[in-house]
Each structure stands twice: as C-alpha cells, then as structure tokens.
C-alpha cells in the first residue's frame, strides 16, 4: 500500500515510489495535501521556501523534499537569481490531468446523450404499437 502522508516522506520512499511516466508523476505530486497547498500558494505568486513553509508545522528540510517532488514533476521551477531562489508554478503538466478527466467526461456525456435519444425512439415505437395492437414488434 502506497503511503502519501507527509510525515513518512523519506529519500528511500521517494526513490522507491516516484513513478517514471509523466502523467503518473504529476498525479503522484498532486496526491499529497501539503504539495497541493504549496501549489495553491504559488498560484497567487512566486514565493521562497521559507514563505511556503510558514503555514505548515514542519521543517524547511521537509518542505524542500516536497518541493523536489513538485520540481521533478515539472510543476514547480526555481529562480536562478537571488539567494532565495523563488519558487514558481508551472501549469503545463496539469494539461495531461485535465485531458484525462475531459476524455472521461466527454465519453459519458456522449453515452448519456445517446441513451436519451434511444429512450425517445423506443418510447415513440411503443406508443405507436399501443395504437396498433396488431403489431408483432415487441421492442
């Protein structure tokens, strides 16, 4: 059983479980509430590690580990200039996640439209049959 809870974050765990393929690594990065919190903060503007750590009861080192996961998923980039190396949100990897749910939604919307249309057609057929009881059709 994979464990996402932040207090178990360790290098071993990262090395073992960070998946290789892109969508999986995005999803993995998003699956942790602390990391989602960091991204939500970065959505309002760039921030330093110290600023990002403020709302959490954890060490700067622990926050840095979360940032590494986000960086390796391509969700966060670090500024080169200045000592504080501001963290910056990169939205691009979210595209694949978005596309995934969009595909799902599209399939079901189409499927349900199709069912609605089919229901109309069999109801129409049955009404016509009710008016002409000799019909052999038994839809």
């Amino acid at each position: 059983m994979r464990e996402y809870s932040t207090d178990r974050l360790s290098t071993y765990w990262l090395n073992t479980f960070v998946p290789a393929d892109r969508l999986s690594s995005t999803l993995f990065a998003l699956a942790d509430p602390t990391r989602r919190g960091i991204l939500a903060r970065l959505a309002t503007g760039d921030a330093s590690v110290t600023e990002l750590a403020k709302p959490y009861d954890m060490s700067l080192a622990a926050v840095s580990k979360h940032l590494k996961v986000l960086e390796s998923a391509g969700l966060v980039s670090r500024g080169k200039e200045a000592q504080w190396r501001p963290c910056h949100l990169e939205a691009k990897p979210l595209e694949a996640v978005f596309a995934w749910v969009e595909d799902y939604r599209r399939f079901w919307e189409q499927n349900l439209d199709s069912l609605a249309k089919y229901l109309r057609s069999i109801q129409g057929k049955r009404r016509r049959e009710a008016r002409s009881p000799k019909s052999e059709r038994n839809l």
């Binding site: 994979r2 999803l27 993995f28 939205a91 979210l94 199709s114």
Partner: protein, 158 residues
C-alpha cells in the same frame, strides 16, 4: 442536455447526474438489456459488435465497442450490485492488461423515480492509485485555476 461532472476535492469520485424524459422502468430496461445497450452505448458513430450481459451480482458483461474509425475496444465488466429498477453497479475486470482507453473504476448508477421522468446519478469511484489521484487532482485544479488568471487562460487554451 448537459451533464455536469462534480468532482469533490477530498474524495476520489466523479459524479454525473442527468434527468431522462422516460419512466424509471424503461430507463432500467434500456441500461440492463443487452439488445438495448448495444443500440446506444458509445454514442453516434459507435457500434457494439458484442454485448452480452448477465445482469446479477457477479455476472459478466462482455462488450466490444467499435469506434467511428473502426478500431475496437474490448471491455469486460462484472456486475457488483443489481437492485432493479433502482441501482446498478459494475466494474471493469482485467483492466491491468489494458493500455490507454477509459479509466477503470466502480461505477454505480442510481435511478430516481420522478413519474414520467427519471433522475440518473452516476458515481465513478476510482480505486487504482493513478486514477484515484487524477480524480483528486481534478478536484484540486478547479479551485487553483480560479485563483490564478494565467492558469485559467492556460487551461482554456488547451
């Protein structure tokens, strides 16, 4: 008609609701009898060369869906809950062998009797880890997008 998916941020489910202009017994029949399902499943341009349903808990639903471009997707489901005409639940079997295609999950459809109309509610509950995470991630991306104009523009441009 519009089907708005609801994706809660804290639960790995996608919920879709819909109202059909047909009595509940008919909706149930259309979704549980293979001869009907084969007529509508997939939508316009799709066909269903195989649709065999053994509608009882543990029963199999063997299905082959043909896309408009001719390629076929084999789907094998197992019925988990059958409570006519109220609830039908199924999940995909053998999805580990499948690459791409639709995500795997437990799908539960509940039908609400509204006289000449029927309320349809589908809950897709994800259990495989990447798909569960994707559902959770989507619940998250909504609010984050709302707080960031640049991100909103970006997601719109996709």
């Amino acid at each position: 008609m519009n089907t708005t998916p609801v994706i809660p941020a804290d639960e790995a489910v996608i919920v879709m609701t819909r109202i059909y202009e047909a009595p509940r017994d008919l909706v149930w029949e259309a979704m549980t009898e293979a001869r009907h399902v084969a007529q509508w499943w997939g939508g316009p341009g799709f066909s269903n060369p195989v649709c065999e349903m053994d509608v009882r808990p543990g029963g199999l639903w063997r299905h082959v869906m043909r896309f408009p471009d001719g390629h076929e997707l084999k789907m094998n489901f197992v019925f988990v809950e059958v409570d006519p005409p109220r609830r039908l639940a199924w999940r995909e079997v053998g999805h580990a062998e499948r690459k791409g295609g639709l995500p795997s999950c437990l799908i539960t459809v509940s039908l609400e009797d509204m006289g000449e109309r029927t309320g349809w509610k589908m809950v897709a509950r994800f259990d495989s880890i990447p798909e569960r995470d994707a559902a959770l991630a989507m619940g998250f991306i909504g609010p984050i997008a709302a707080s960031n104009d640049r991100l909103v523009d970006y997601l719109r441009s996709l």
